[in-house]
Symmetry: C2
Subunit: 198 residues, 2 copies
DNA sequence: TTATGCTTGTACCGTCTGGTACAGGACTAG
DNA sequence: CTAGTCCTGTACCAGACGGTACAAGCATAA
């Protein structure tokens, strides 16, 4: 009953993740997958219904992974810039992981077939992160504000954009191995101006 | 000889562009394409050799289009920020075009099959644009410089990243119709700090 | 007229795909 | 033992695909 360390369902899911990330969804056939998982096509269909269902399951599992991943530091109100830079450092490290890039690549392919899964991904990856940054900024702003807190969401968005420059898309497109996103962006000086403008 | 307004070759190319943009490359079959172009499969293969060859041709033509497209304004050395903002405004408008988004979407799909074409695209779309921004900054920097011009390429990259925020990826993934990239970024205040830092 | 060259429609090929059917094997419960 | 449940391997299906072959059509050119 407790079986071994891996259930059949999990093995299929893991193998699908591996192949989808490596070769893409369209290029992964059912027989490839069955061989990789050490099982048979019938078992796959018994567990996931269809290939697109499996795709949805892989995406959902992955989204879950990085949604629950960073519990994040406590915001230090006195030096909130440190908190922001700390958050950025973590995000940068996460974005630099090859797995993250491969996932992003697969998502671009999957978006056409499963718009619902794409929306799920964006909600988790972007809105969630942006909201977290907004919280940090909102919490820290009163402690150093020269002006009113206008366009808060936009600030969070711009911060993310600066971290995830166009070298990230190059990596997703396979032109470079790793993006090495500009950590210089993390220097506080570069976003001091945001709080000084109208 | 001069024929009509459109050669057969051009009609196929245009139809391919249309279908690839709309449905994606993989989802476009040879018969679909022949019907759309009002010609036959044999003619397509006579002109482009293979489906992947046609894909390469579409990308090359598209890259050509936006490489030669913006002749761009003359840099006004006295007020180079105006030049930078002007350039950004044009870029923003270009990025906001639905056609540009669809092309970007297709490129993400095509990158796996034609890495060479993806490299071509990135060279034209990113490196080319970044170089242009670098030129503007380099030309204008002496006129207002409080410090030495360090990390020039990185500044260009960050400027582009700020223009092309994560809402752009949302649009490419089909989650929203148009990105409406943050034009607030164009306010000069937001990148004043770049020239003040070490 | 004949000859040439390109385009057309259609039929065809081999291959691969997602998905299903099914006959048996392995195992558990009683 | 029997009955039942799940899994496995394999074979199969119908459809779609990229690509090719070919006979016929049409226009130019002499």
């Amino acid at each position: 009953m407790t079986a071994e360390t891996k259930s059949n369902h999990d093995r299929v899911l893991r193998s699908a993740r591996k192949l989808f990330f490596e070769k893409g969804f369209a290029a992964t056939s059912t027989v490839d997958l069955a061989r990789e998982a050490g099982t048979s096509k019938a078992t796959i269909y018994a567990g996931f219904g269809s290939m697109e269902g499996l795709l949805g399951a892989v995406i959902a599992a992955e989204v879950d992974r990085f949604t629950t991943a960073p519990p994040e530091e406590i915001v230090d109100f006195a030096s909130f810039r440190k908190a922001l830079v700390g958050f950025g450092t973590n995000l940068l490290a996460f974005l630099n992981e090859p797995e993250t890039i491969r996932f992003s690549r697969m998502m671009h392919e999957a978006a056409r077939r499963r718009p619902d899964a794409a929306a799920l991904y964006l909600e988790a990856a972007y809105d969630g992160t942006a909201r977290r940054i907004e919280e940090i900024i909102a919490a820290g702003l009163p402690h150093c504000a020269p002006g009113p807190a206008v366009a808060l969401p936009d600030r969070a968005e711009r911060y993310m954009a600066m971290l995830k420059g166009h070298r990230y898309e190059m990596a997703v497109l396979g032109a470079i191995e790793r993006p090495y996103l500009h950590p210089q962006t993390l220097s506080t000086a570069s976003f001091d101006a945001w709080f000084a403008e109208a």
